[in-house]
């Protein structure tokens, strides 16, 4: 069994126990959640909830099914958090607006990963930061498709299961995401 300090490797779906699976996925899942939510504590909460649900509900399922199930639950949890933030922002946002007289859409002020300017970061030649910022700025579905297909390495069918949509939708979201990222990050990836 791997130690905590081991790298988060890999997408092998052979038989493994649930603990080994969680070890293999926790870093990547956390980074995806942090990137999508723009907040470390929220990302940790999402990860803990998702791991608990997987253990409670699906530990007895074949280990090959865990990965898409895990990401489906994680992305549902991320979506729930975003919705709660949006509702909270609608309810209490007017208080802040009265203070600073800001007229910007509250949804745009919730998560701050998009606030990272890919252009500015690219200038500092930090490729990884620029990539993370560019991925964070993608629309939610494109972001999911890119993270699951490219980063996690799920197949189109597994990604469709994780996203709860058709394979055709996955292909569309993914190709748009790659097109956008290539356009924004071309100078980093010759």
């Amino acid at each position: 069994m791997r130690a905590d300090s081991d790298g988060a490797d890999d997408s092998g779906t052979g038989a493994m126990d649930i603990e080994a699976f969680l070890r293999s996925i926790e870093r990547r899942g956390f980074l995806m959640a942090r990137l999508a939510l723009g907040n470390e504590d929220d990302a940790l909460d999402a990860m803990q909830d998702t791991m608990m649900r997987l253990v409670q509900r699906y530990a007895n399922r074949p280990s090959a099914e865990w990965r898409p199930l895990f990401y489906r639950m994680l992305h549902n949890r991320i979506t729930d958090t975003r919705r709660r933030r949006a509702i909270s922002s609608r309810l209490f946002g007017w208080l802040e607006r009265r203070d600073d007289d800001e007229t910007q859409d509250p949804l745009e002020r919730i998560a701050d990963p998009a606030a990272l300017d890919p252009g500015r970061i690219a200038a500092s030649n930090e490729t990884a930061e620029a990539l993370m910022a560019a991925v964070a700025a993608l629309p939610q579905r494109q972001q999911q498709a890119f993270m699951l297909r490219c980063w996690e390495g799920l197949s189109t069918a597994e990604t469709a299961t994780a996203m709860g949509c058709t394979e055709g939708s996955v292909k569309t979201h993914y190709s748009r995401a790659v097109h956008t990222l290539r356009g924004r990050l071309g100078e980093h990836y010759a």
């Binding site: 905590d4 300090s5 790298g7 988060a8 649930i18 603990e19 969680l22 070890r23 926790e26 870093r27 990547r28 956390f30 980074l31 470390e40 940790l44 990860m47 803990q48 791991m51 608990m52 997987l54 253990v55 409670q56 509900r57 530990a59 007895n60 490729t127 990884a128 990539l131 993370m132 490219c150 980063w151 390495g153 790659v178 990222l181 290539r182 990050l185 990836y189």
Partner: protein, 106 residues
Amino acid sequence: MNSFEEEARATLRARENTLDGTTLARLGAARRAALATPAAPWWRLHVPALGGAALAVAVAVAVLMPMQEQLRAPTRAGEPVVEDPQFYEDLDFYMWLSESEMGSHG
């Protein structure tokens, strides 16, 4: 997968090894807490399905019972539908009585 996607994947995966010790410790604690959680009993996993089925049965009963009553109800007010055999025996008696009285008067 083209070279851009391969390079992006390599960049993102390398990023996984840059997490700080505090974050890794919190992730480990979250994992251990999850593993300490007992598996949910099978029936709890099916509570939504069972609840839905029970609700469907309740709705069906609520809808069908009045319909059944309506079918049994008289077609005209004051004209009861009688299924008791005693009623027909009594009816025969009254018809006989009526005919007897008519015979005695005639």
